[in-house]
């Protein structure tokens, strides 16, 4: 089985990611309720080597990786790739010019 660490840590991180994704009402979201219910259901066998528990933990870790990576990817995209072209006003402003005001439009 993959080296996953403590299930509680994964759960906490996962719930944090869900909070980032959902916003204020994250505790009512189906995902939050499902994750919490699934972890509670497997708590009973915490002492024994339970295959289902390990599978759940792996799934939770995978979902955590998904949410985290999507958030980080989006942040990087916004930072480096999302700006698009500058408007003519902005370009003029870069070199200290401002576009003329033409009330009747160009030409």
């Amino acid at each position: 089985m993959a080296a996953l660490g403590a299930p509680l840590r994964t759960l906490r991180a996962l719930l944090r990611e869900l909070r980032h994704a959902a916003g204020r009402s994250y505790r009512d979201s189906p995902a939050y309720r499902h994750v919490v219910a699934a972890f509670r259901a497997h708590r009973v066998t915490s002492e024994k080597l339970c295959r289902a528990q390990q599978e759940l933990h792996f799934q939770a870790a995978t979902y955590l990786c998904l949410l985290r990576s999507v958030r980080e990817h989006e942040a990087l995209h916004r930072e480096y790739h999302g700006k698009g072209e500058r408007s003519p006003q902005e370009v003029a402003g870069l070199v200290g010019f401002s576009l003329p005001q033409q009330p009747g439009g160009k030409g």
Partner: protein, 271 residues
């Protein structure tokens, strides 16, 4: 209707304006308030306000697993002002499974997956620089050995340009193993293999021998080596890393959620 405009759903691979017909627009304004799940005849459905979500080919969006439906609904609900389709990997995977735009059957999917073994990343070794060759040996050999033991096959590795010589019996073993997965799970498996460029890493991951982060690291081993040597470029390296992690994680989760044969049996009725 919550699906892309008609121009994106042509019959052939190229639409009238030259765009790929199966490619929806990259972004769209969020047009719904609430996302919810309901259970229909074919499985679980996603509702955006009162409208039912459909695939790009206008089929009703139904998934076999409730957990998967919840995860898809979460993707839709976490969109802010604009819907960024390129971040919704689980939705995309479900759409692919439902529409099957490449129109491949189970045998073709399996064949495509196993074919990757001939050009598997972890089997292709360099001879120089020696540090990289050493790194590949230390990081990749254990994974190859694990897969060989687990499936009772011979794979090996090679420094030649032709790659390793994979025995037919090895390929047959993987073909029959993959045949035990259903069509949905197979779409996911083939997706993960295409992302990681390795059947061996994908099987290690799906068999839960390594985590997604580890699989991605091993897949990008040479890149990581170069980064350590020459430095990291955030807008390229981290960008690619996060995207690969996201897609691989989505694919793996998709496979596991689609191939669960047993459900969690609640001994106590909780509410």
């Amino acid at each position: 209707l919550p699906r892309p405009p008609p121009a994106a759903t042509g019959s052939g691979p190229v639409g009238p304006c030259g765009r790929r017909a199966y490619a929806p627009p990259a972004e769209r304004k969020r047009f719904y308030q609430n996302v919810s799940i309901s259970q229909g005849e074919g499985g679980f459905e996603i509702n955006l306000d009162h409208r039912k979500l459909k695939t790009p080919q206008a089929k009703l969006f139904t998934v076999p697993s409730e957990a998967l439906a919840i995860a898809v609904a979460t993707e839709w609900d976490s969109q802010k002002d604009t819907i960024k389709f390129y971040t919704m990997h689980l939705t995309t995977l479900c759409n692919t499974a439902l529409d099957n735009p490449t129109q491949r059957n189970k045998t073709q999917l399996i064949r495509a997956a196993v074919k990757f073994l001939e050009t598997d990343t972890v089997c292709y070794r360099v001879e120089e620089p020696p540090a990289l060759a050493e790194l590949q040996k230390n990081e990749w050999d254990p994974v190859v050995a694990w897969v060989e033991r687990r499936y009772n096959v011979t794979i090996g590795s090679s420094t030649s340009i032709l790659g390793p010589n994979i025995p037919a019996s090895t390929k047959e073993t993987f073909v029959s193993h993959l045949a035990s997965y259903n069509m949905w799970a197979l779409q996911g498996i083939e997706f993960v293999i295409t992302q990681l460029k390795s059947l061996i890493l994908s099987m290690s991951l799906i068999d839960r021998h390594i985590t997604v982060e580890k699989a991605v690291l091993l897949s990008r081993l040479e890149e990581e080596y170069q980064i350590r040597r020459w430095g990291n470029v955030e807008w390229a390296h981290d960008y690619d890393l996060c995207e690969l992690r996201a897609r691989t994680a989505a694919g793996t989760l998709f496979v596991h959620l689609c191939s669960e044969s047993s459900t969690v049996k609640h001994k106590l009725l909780q509410d």
